[in-house]
Amino acid sequence: MKDGIAIEMRDVVKQFGEVVAVDHVNMNIRDGEFFSMLGPSGCGKTTSLRMIAGFEYPSAGEICLNGQPIGHTPPFQRNVNTVFQSYALFPHMTVAENVAFGLEMKKVPKADIARRVNEALDMVRLTGYDERKPRQLSGGQQQRVALARALVNHPDVLLLDEPLGALDLKLRKEMQLELKGLQERVGITFIYVTHDQEEALTMSDRIAVMSGGKVLQIGSPTEIYERPTCRFVADFIGESNFVTGRVSHSDATQADVTTSDGLLLRGQCMALLSEGAEAMISIRPEKAHLTSQEPSAGTPNVFPVTVERVSYIGSDTRILVRLGQERSFSVWEQNTRSTVDRDAYWQQGEQGYLSWPVENALVLTE
């Protein structure tokens, strides 16, 4: 079971009338991992989650839990539990009754129910709240009851549908760490849906980035951030500069892109690219440098630029420079020195040199 595949989605399609919400999605979610589905609204992540839970059945394709097909099994027959975005706590029951519900459905003996409910409430730090009703709890507390109610059943997989969306920023950050810690302690596979990329990067072992019903890339947070395979992923996660042009030269690891205004940019690529192909080069702002002195000859990717705008964020400075005729390029510099001297910071109108190491740029063809 360990190191096995907990959930497999094989060529899954979900159509609502004319709309294709999930378009031939393939995913292998490993046992015990914290797996996130990330993407903008309407990308198909929630529909995919609902199909794993059983609230929707696939129009085509198959979904397997630990090797067994469950695509058309009703939710109450799957050993999978969900934490809903709105928590969906039963308002007419107490916290204890809510948490006990799944155990009652499985006809667990009463004494065991009481013990397991207490354990579950301890795990989410809500001991003593048994007799309260949901409306007497804060948002964060309700969320923890929803968690306890799901986990008490020892499901094979726990599904979480944007559970932190309704919480304020500080509470959300706390809960992110708590959830991650909980998952590591309990060891159950978590499948987490979110549109917040920072959340996904912080908590996940692996992330599936989705858009328009398709899975664009699956990888670890580092892989997704440092090696996006297409423009959408590079753009959706973090920030990036994109310069478009055509491939003027390429080998298996590097490629040159020439822009319409004659700039030659060099970056990494995943495979040999055909010359003349349309491509774009992606450089993240923190990976480019701005210097006042011209870098030594032979350094690739050196461009004279003029500073357009400077934003002082405190911990870093964000500088917008003009590259070529009409292009704006963003560079982020960390404020590693503690000085209030104005000359130490870039000013609008200053001239400088933009450069980046080849390995800091990616050449993408999509």
């Binding site: 609230f55 109450f76 539990n81 969900t82 706590l89 039963f90």
Partner: protein
């Protein structure tokens, strides 16, 4: 020089307005006054009259003899004519309410799960009967159910025998259920409209099949609608006399029919007995309703 002095405002006029403005009690009294007056005149006073009459003796000409007696109440609890009427009325009330529930809840559920446009259309259809006179609709049922009516004509054309459908308990039930159904559907619809269907998904996720999801989650949370609908159906049904008269004839005698007869149709009319019956009737219903609401709605709601 004639300096015209403006005469000081009459103290009396200003006094009332000043009193109104200053005293909150008087303001409240002025607002409640008309309503209370109406209530007292048209409800409390008649009620007291009925209470009074229930203890008087009926006279041979229909007028009332001012001799106080408990005989009316004694008769009502002992004579079989009356006792049978109670049980029959109660039974019909319960059966009507139960059938309205069994038909009304699924209907309301169906409507609530449609798209908004269809919902309006369907609710409109449920309400249409209210636009026609209740008596006229009941007469329509007579036309449908009588020996030469719609149903019998259809049955005969299919080769079946004529059935006696009118002047039966069944006919009365049909008439009552037909008339009362909207009163059951609408409160339940209102409850279901506020119901969060995600809760059913949560119940399903936690292992409840559809039946258990309904019994453990949906029903408890829509109880207010169910209770309201049940009361709105039960009370008028128990006191019914129009439907039981037209569709049941002399064969189905309910409380309402007896009451009507005692006050109007008997020769001579027996107001004291009628008043006593009305009072017992009111008392029983009030107790039943209080009990029903206690049992079905949460105490801390």
């Amino acid at each position: 020089m004639a300096v015209e002095t403006i005469p000081a405002p009459k103290r009396r006029e200003n006094g009332l307005l000043r009193l109104l403005r200053r005293s909150e009690r008087v303001q409240v009294g002025a607002l409640l006054g008309p309503g209370l007056f109406w209530l007292v005149l048209f409800f409390a006073v008649p009620l007291l009259v009925i209470v009074l009459y229930s203890f008087l003796t009926p006279g041979p000409t229909g007028a009332v003899i001012w001799t106080f007696t408990l005989n009316n109440y004694a008769r009502l609890f002992t004579e079989s004519l009356f006792v049978n009427a109670y049980w029959r009325s109660l039974w019909i009330g319960v059966v009507t309410t139960v059938i309205c529930l069994l038909v009304g809840f699924p209907l309301a559920l169906f409507i609530v799960q449609r798209t908004p446009r269809w919902r309006s259309v369907l609710i409109f259809l449920v309400l249409i009967p209210f636009w026609t006179n209740f008596l006229v609709r009941t007469y329509a049922w007579m036309l449908i159910l009588n020996n030469n009516g719609l149903i019998n004509t259809l049955l005969q054309s299919l080769g079946f025998e004529r059935q006696t459908l009118l002047n039966t308990t069944g006919a009365v039930l049909i008439g009552l259920i037909y008339g009362e159904l909207p009163f059951m559907v609408l409160p339940i619809y209102a409850s279901l409209d506020r119901f969060d269907f995600t809760l059913l998904e949560a119940a399903s996720d936690l292992g409840a099949n559809r039946t258990r999801g309904f019994l453990r989650v949906m029903l408890p949370l829509t109880m207010p609608g169910v209770a309201a609908g049940s009361v709105l159906v039960f009370i008028p049904t128990v006191g019914q006399f129009v439907v039981s008269d037209l569709l049941g004839g002399a064969k189905v005698d309910l409380l309402g029919n007896l009451l009507q007869r005692l006050f109007t149709r008997s020769n001579p009319p027996n107001w004291p007995l009628g008043s006593a019956m009305a009072l017992i009737f009111m008392f029983v219903l009030t107790v039943a309703v209080i009990f029903y609401f206690r049992v079905t709605t949460e105490s801390d709601r």
